[in-house]
Symmetry: C2
Subunit: 275 residues, 2 copies
Amino acid sequence: MDQTTTPISSHQPIGVFDSGIGGLTVVAELRRRLPHEAIFYIGDTARVPYGNKSQATIERYSVEISELLLTRGAKMIVVACNTASSQALPQLEHLLPVPVTGVILPGAKAAVARTKNGHIGVIGTRATVRSGAYEKAIHALAPEVRVTSKACPMLVPTIEEGWLQSSITDAIIAEYLGDLTESGIDTLVLGCTHYPLLKKALARYLGPDIRLVDSGENCAIAVGELLETHRLSAPKEAQGSLQVALTDPADVFLTVAEEALGLSVGEIHTAQVQK
Amino acid sequence: MDQTTTPISSHQPIGVFDSGIGGLTVVAELRRRLPHEAIFYIGDTARVPYGNKSQATIERYSVEISELLLTRGAKMIVVACNTASSQALPQLEHLLPVPVTGVILPGAKAAVARTKNGHIGVIGTRATVRSGAYEKAIHALAPEVRVTSKACPMLVPTIEEGWLQSSITDAIIAEYLGDLTESGIDTLVLGCTHYPLLKKALARYLGPDIRLVDSGENCAIAVGELLETHRLSAPKEAQGSLQVALTDPADVFLTVAEEALGLSVGEIHTAQVQK
């Protein structure tokens, strides 16, 4: 890739992508923690969801979107998508001329640091849970920790419908998390970038004894550290910004996410991908 | 297309497609009503959902899948997908050398025939409701009929999760249909091929005064009539059959659909499409 010939500057934006709009929860954390950074976000809404695609397809999509971010001058790539993080990160790290981080390792690290009884729960989409990506990452860090995972396929549609505070949502959460809380976990990883939008409802169900680990929040912390390591942090006088591009027009969920996250995405650009 | 050179025979299969597995509700009706017919079904699970794609993309996908069905000898094409029916039917009718039917016109006809007070409700995905396809079809038949539509984006995930009989499902149905039933409809069109799997729960909520119109059921009736018209009905001594091909491996919803529909799909084949 010819981007390698250009030296990377700290003034360049952080490139962030997700298969859709859920990655904006990571963007909200990045904006909060790194207010001087410019962020360029691409949501691959034309091809969402990635979860039911093959690994080769997910790699191809992830490389294609990352290259679009590089043409926008991205100084690093943040994979704000659990599926792409679990399937395409090695490929991206191999191919891209800039630092890359996903959401899984930061979430796994935070969970291992927080658990006291050594039993961590993970919730995510069916694809993420099937991939076993969090188990692998947690066990690579702490082989003795017990991990209990649960796929919660109804949570993303619930969030996208905007039912963030609803008795129906509470009932869905209870249905999914009943067995998990009974199994004795003391830490629960939100293994999907949509889920932080349900943090209040989840915390209300879980009570004070189970700690929530927000992968997006921990990803944002990891981005800050990575920028420091590579001396790529934006100068303190820089004014941060956010640009959002989607590969297909936004649906109503963008409004839900903007409101719930207090995020102003401004004018939405369009990015072209092969469909 | 070179299929035009081969005369169509009544022994050939009916080709049926959907963006995913929901179209199997139409297949179940076809099997019940036309037991002598061979059916070849393709679910484009690699590219589901179609609802958020542009019309040009949906047309391209629909033509591609229809051509796959023609290479399997399809004597007619059934578009068992509301999105493809609303977006690609004219294009398919123009291009394909065999009769084509969708789900929308049969559903609209049945609703117009059944309403007594002239007020019809339509439920569907956000894409189907946004397209206004049922309103247009109903108003083309009966301009004086009032149509009230409601997008119910949570119903497909609920069905795909297998929650066909659950207090959560009842609460979701009540949330969506409350305004619709209060508006005074006497007929409700199930404008999504998944929805017949919730017929019992929907009927329980609606009570005896609101009649359900199952587009899939009416599509199957239309297919029977179209075969008669074109003298393409399978001979009465023929033993019907069903073959199912998917463009990506099946997920758990296939098991849900098989069980709920009492449908035996046998070995699942794979159909290749460009992703």
